[in-house]
Amino acid sequence: MGNDQELVAQVINGDQRAFAELVETYQQSVYNLTYRMLGNAGEAEDAAQEAFLRAYQHIKRYDPERSFKTWLLSIASNYCIDRIRKRRLTWLSIDEPLPPHPSLTSSSPDPEAYTSDNEQSVVVQELLGELAPDYRAAVVLRYWYDMSYIEIAKTLGTTESAIKSRLFRARQMLAEQVRSGNMSELSIAMEGA
């Protein structure tokens, strides 16, 4: 934590290597968030890169009193929420979404990411995919980052009571999924867990 603030100070002084260290440290947290939000590896990678890029460009706006990880996750989750909303608009219009620059997207995703929780991952993404983006973000921050209601509220720029009701509504919708036939899939996924 203290180390993060030192690295940030070095980045502000123009040291890109210090930022590379921060990327190394938080790449998994940020990528997991964008993957859980967007549901596919290609988009997740592009969004995670974008989140780091924005953090780099706005590094002076970072408040050293806060945790750097929370700040990063805040940028990433808000970017993903916007992106999902735009994706809906894009589907309505004729335009194809812009693919990420070819030289910037790397080849295949790490195979390890998929061998461990293959089937379960599919079920999880199907469940999350049913939720509106801001509900999805609350669920992801709650379950993968173990954030309290207040922390989620700060990360997403809303109130604690809004998060309380989002998580409740999200659980109701997911429970509805279970009723409408995903129960068996879920049970299989649980056995695998």
Partner: protein, 190 residues
């Protein structure tokens, strides 16, 4: 019976947000109410699945890609030192070319050219052709594109155009001077 407050309590319970008495109240209701007990089972099942879903790892070269993207983003908007160098050199050349008529006159290059009539007529013709082409190019460019705002946004294109203008103006200046000088010399001869 209103189940909704209990459904909210189930959600809060899963997040460990209930006080002991509230938790007791919920459990008491669940023991009596099949609807809420069913809701609890389903919410708890989803909860277990989500709790057990691990983190997904990024691609192996992810960190490198991020740093490459940052570098690309930074250099894309930068005025390179060499680009500024070209602009400075081009501006100096432009200034020199404006002063070129005086320079040519003082050196006397144009007098040598004027002594060969064939060369003089070639100079005249190419000057005429050049002026016509330049005028046409000017009007076409103006009519077809909003090049002005584009140039201001792209340093590389600006450098190319300024350099081209410099060479054009040197050439025109050279031709103009030799033409003017020849006229002056033929006047003297007559």
């Amino acid at each position: 019976m209103a189940h909704n407050p209990y459904e909210l309590m189930i959600s809060l319970s899963l997040d460990g947000m209930l006080e002991d008495e509230e938790e007791f109240e919920l459990q008491t209701h669940l023991a009596d109410c099949e609807t809420c007990a069913d809701m609890f089972d389903r919410m708890a099942l989803v909860d277990t699945v989500l709790v057990n879903a691990g983190e997904v790892a990024p691609p192996v070269n992810f960190a490198v890609s991020v740093m490459l993207r940052i570098k690309a983003e930074e250099t894309g908007r930068r005025w390179y030192p060499w680009l500024i160098g070209i602009l400075v050199v081009a501006s100096v050349l432009a200034a020199v070319s404006i002063a070129a008529p005086i320079l040519f006159l003082s050196i006397g290059v144009e007098r040598i050219i004027a002594q060969w009539p064939a060369l003089a007529s070639l100079v005249d013709n190419s000057l005429h052709l050049f002026e016509t082409l330049l005028m046409r190019a000017w009007f076409i460019t103006n009519a077809v594109t909003d090049w002005y705002s584009y140039l201001l946004s792209d340093p590389a294109a600006l450098a190319v155009v300024v350099t081209a203008l410099v060479f054009a103006s040197i050439w025109i200046g050279f031709l103009e001077v030799s033409k003017a000088n020849r006229l002056a010399m033929s006047g003297q001869a007559a």
